[in-house]
Structure formats: structure tokens, C-alpha cells
Amino acid sequence: METALIQAIANQKPYFVCKHTGEELLLVPLKGDVVDFNQFLTMNEVGAFIWDAIDSNCSFDNLVNRVYEEYDVEKSVIATDIRYFLEKLATFVTTA
């Protein structure tokens, strides 16, 4: 399931433009006219880190390990949080 989510997000990445500001990230869908704040996605530092790390070759375990190395939180907590984040992110990028 996680692999499918990562793949779905990786496939949609080319259709978004990113703007890093400080530790936050803004995702803007490449569509005609972005007229609604709900069409954007803003992410905090950890969300931005995960977004940047995702590509089609990235595995869920790899993602968890990279976040663990960067933020030093229990792996089981990281795995639960990333799974939840991937679900939300996949829904956004496939429907924006």
C-alpha cells in the first residue's frame, strides 16, 4: 500500500511547482488558474523533507530511515506518521 502511495505521488510531482520559504514548502498545481487557497498545499519542514525525498525509486523503509536519520524520533512513530502523511498527500496530488 505504501509503495503504491509513493508511486502515485512520484508520478504527480512533475505537475506541481514548489516554493521553499524558510522551512515551509508551498505546492502549486500546474493548472490553468489557481484561484482558491484550497488548491495549494503548504507543508512544514518535515513534510517538505519527505516531499523532496520522494521519487519513483524510493521505498517506504528508505523514507522512514531518511527521516529517522534526520530527526531522531522512534522509527515506529515515524512509520505511522509517514503512512498517514502519504495518504493525505496522495489524495491531494491526485485530485488537485
Binding site: V17, T21, V28, V34, D36
Partner: protein
């Protein structure tokens, strides 16, 4: 209407040269009256004007972007050999093709085809008939650290402020309140913002009515909404960028252009404070803004 074989037009300090090698003259509507002329040594775009709509030059491929309202197509953009090709429909009758235009950004050139018509007993062409000029300005602005935005703008002699939002949020009302208090209205609907030597400037553009070209430095950005009391919330970071982006004119098919726009808005929000502004539309809003901005 101004009529001639050649015109120089300056909008937002961008200079355009329109000319035709055909027997027709080019007309510009009253909105251009004060924008005609210019003294820069180079043109930001040379516009070659032709009579007749040769639909055979429209690519058979799918447009890369279509601007629609409800089910009507306002204009479409196609990939073209050396840039883009635009087909623009008459906004009052969208079934009628009004212009075909080929834009080459590298060569700073636009070739416009439109039907000739009779004006004061002469056959003329109106190559920049609305909305082609705003479409061209979008690309020219983006290529030169600029953007187009739905906003009204006022200058009180010291500070420039814009009020950005869609129809009904009170852009024109705010402009009138500041005007009544002695400020200059730069425009009350659509503006160009440019970054020049690190500072941001706002400009008006030709409208359907006659108005002089105006520019002023920009210091504060407000996103007004109707409210029971005057309120102000300062926006920062990605929230400021996203909020402002929503009111910028965008043809979001191009990642490069969207990135350019995002980066420019990012710089703008660092230089000019962005505020969400709850408004009770009375003159008291002026003192409220000055005390809280």
C-alpha cells in the same frame, strides 16, 4: 479611436511598436489615448498587424491551455514553431474568432491577424482589441520581473498600497475611499507590478475608458474582505505567497512561468507586507490601516 499605419505604445514602462505593411490602418481604442508614444531606444515587443484570419495556421494539436467561462472558450494557447500561438474569441460573442496571434518571446515579436472592418469610411484593423493586450502583457511582465494582478492601487504621496481580490471584495470601494481622502488611484481593477532595481512598482494598464498612465512605489498589500469590524492579520511565509498568488493572473500550463511567478511573489512578500484586511467600508478604514500596517 486613434488610427495610423504605425503606433508606439508604452504600458507599465514596456514599449511596443505596432505596424502594418498592408493598406489598412491600425486603430487603437480610447483606452490607449494616453498610452500612445514612447522614447525608449528599444522595443519590448514589435507587433506586426495583418488583416484576415487564416485559420489554417492554427495547429491541429490540442491547445496547451484554454481559458473558459462556463462552457465558453475565451482564448486558447497552442505550442507554435517558435513560441506560442493564441486564438482569441470575441468576449461578447465567444463563437466568433477575433484574433490569431503568434508570440515569439526570444525575438520579442508578436504577429497578429484580425478581420478588417470599416471605421469612418476607411478599412481598418484593431489588432490589440481586448483581451489581446492583457494576454501579451502577462508574458512581457513575466519575462521582466513583473506580474499582473486583480487589484486596486492607491498612492497617498508617501506609500503605495494595493487591495487585491476578486469581484465583490471591495477593491473599487477601497480605491474610492482613499481617493476621497486625497490619494491617487493608480487603477481600481487590474494592475501590473514590476520589480525594478530591488523595489516594487505598480502600474495601470489601458482600460475600456480613457485614463493616463500611472505608476507608484508599492509598500503594502491588502487582501480585503467584508467584515463587521475593521481587522488586520499579517500574513507571512507560504501563506502570504499562496494568498497573493490566487489573485495573480496565471496561465499555469508552464512550470517555468509558474516558478517565475512564485519566485517573484516570494520576493514581493518579503519586501511588501501582506495583510488580510477585514473591512467596514467607511473612511475610518484609512486611519485603521495606517495605525496597524
Amino acid at each position: 479611436m486613434k488610427r495610423g499605419k504605425e503606433h508606439v505604445v508604452t504600458v507599465a514602462d514596456f514599449q511596443f511598436k505596432l505596424s502594418t505593411a498592408e493598406q489598412f490602418e491600425i486603430v487603437l481604442d480610447d483606452g490607449f489615448d494616453y498610452f500612445i508614444g514612447g522614447n525608449k531606444p528599444e522595443f519590448d515587443c514589435t507587433i506586426s498587424c495583418h488583416a484576415g484570419l487564416d485559420t489554417k495556421i492554427i495547429p491541429t494539436t490540442t491547445p496547451i491551455y484554454s481559458a473558459k467561462t462556463n462552457d465558453a472558450i475565451l482564448w486558447q494557447i497552442y505550442s507554435d514553431t517558435n513560441g506560442i500561438l493564441l486564438t482569441v474569441n470575441n468576449p461578447e460573442n465567444t463563437a466568433e474568432l477575433q484574433q490569431i496571434a503568434r508570440y515569439n518571446e526570444a525575438e520579442k515579436s508578436l504577429v497578429v491577424y484580425s478581420e478588417a472592418f470599416e471605421h469612418d469610411g476607411k478599412e481598418v484593423i484593431e489588432s490589440l482589441k481586448y483581451p489581446l493586450l492583457p494576454l501579451l502583457l502577462y508574458y512581457i511582465a513575466l519575462a521582466n520581473d513583473g506580474l499582473m494582478i486583480h487589484a486596486s492601487g492607491v498612492f497617498d504621496g508617501e506609500k503605495g498600497r494595493i487591495f487585491s481580490g476578486f469581484s465583490g471584495v471591495g477593491k473599487s470601494t477601497m480605491a474610492k475611499i482613499w481617493h476621497d481622502a486625497g490619494s491617487t488611484i493608480i487603477n481600481d481593477d487590474r494592475m501590473i507590478i514590476r520589480k525594478i532595481e530591488g523595489d516594487f512598482w505598480m502600474y495601470n494598464t489601458p482600460m475600456y475608458y480613457s485614463d493616463k498612465p500611472k505608476k507608484a512605489p508599492l509598500h503594502h498589500v491588502f487582501l480585503p474582505f467584508h467584515n463587521k469590524e475593521n481587522t488586520l492579520e499579517k500574513l507571512t511565509g507560504v501563506k502570504a505567497i499562496a494568498s497573493l498568488m490566487a489573485f495573480c493572473i496565471q496561465h499555469g500550463y508552464s512550470a517555468a512561468n509558474t516558478q517565475k511567478l512564485l519566485d517573484l511573489i516570494g520576493e514581493l512578500t518579503k519586501k511588501c507586507a501582506v495583510n488580510r484586511l477585514g473591512v467596514v467600508p467607511t473612511p475610518a478604514i484609512i486611519d485603521f490601516i495606517k495605525a496597524n500596517e
